[in-house]
């Protein structure tokens, strides 16, 4: 198995991530300016558009993992566990500090960042885990 088998899926992940950033930027702009007085159904549809590239990214990651060999799957598993624990601990820490009024945290801002943070942590953890087996 060469990297050629996984390369198209890595490219798809990258494109989907770019799509997420672009759709989020466009949708927020539309909702804050052009569609302020639009019907709720239209606003909801526009607000949910960034979910599409995230679903595509998830599909690309699943394909990437399935195209990998046993070592690559182990690396992905370790990376997912690390990412889950890191993001979970970060959320717990932030919510405890928020509960103690040490920091001010908007639930809206926090929620929208959890999923991207999970992916960023996964990518970083994957790079770190890969180095351990290099």
């Amino acid at each position: 198995m060469s990297t050629l088998r996984t390369a198209p899926h890595l490219r798809d992940c990258f494109l989907a991530a770019l799509g997420y950033v672009a759709t989020t930027w466009v949708c927020i702009g539309l909702l804050r300016h052009a569609l302020v007085d639009a019907p709720t159904v239209l606003r909801a549809a526009i607000a949910l558009l960034p979910v599409v590239p995230i679903v595509l990214a998830t599909r690309a990651v699943v394909r990437l993992v399935r195209a990998g060999d046993e070592l690559q799957r182990r690396i992905d598993l370790e990376a997912l566990v690390i990412a889950g624990v890191v993001v979970g601990l970060a959320c717990l820490t932030a919510s405890l500090l928020e509960a103690a009024d040490v920091i001010e945290l908007s639930a809206r801002q926090a929620l929208i960042w959890i999923f991207p943070a999970q992916w960023i942590a996964y990518v970083l953890a994957r790079a770190w885990t890969r180095r351990r087996y290099a």
Binding site: M1, S2, T3, G68, D69, E70, L71, Q72, R74, R130, R132, Y133, A134
Partner: protein, 64 residues
């Protein structure tokens, strides 16, 4: 776990990439096995044994 994969591969004049292709794994996996950073699964160990026409225990030996 110790192994003779590097020695056996070199004996046949194969690169890591060539061996990886024959085993349908990545070159990183071959390298990790050779450097002892990763112990292969039983199916992959059998595939290596079949490829080198040896018994598994002639390739892999437990740490002393």
């Amino acid at each position: 776990m110790n192994n003779r994969v590097r020695e056996l591969r070199a004996g046949r004049g194969w690169s890591q990439a060539e061996l990886a292709d024959r085993l349908s794994v990545s070159r990183q996996t071959v390298n990790a096995i050779e450097t002892g950073k990763y112990d292969p699964s039983l199916p992959l160990a059998f595939a290596l044994a079949r490829l080198f026409d040896l018994a598994i225990e002639a390739i892999f030996t437990p740490d002393p």
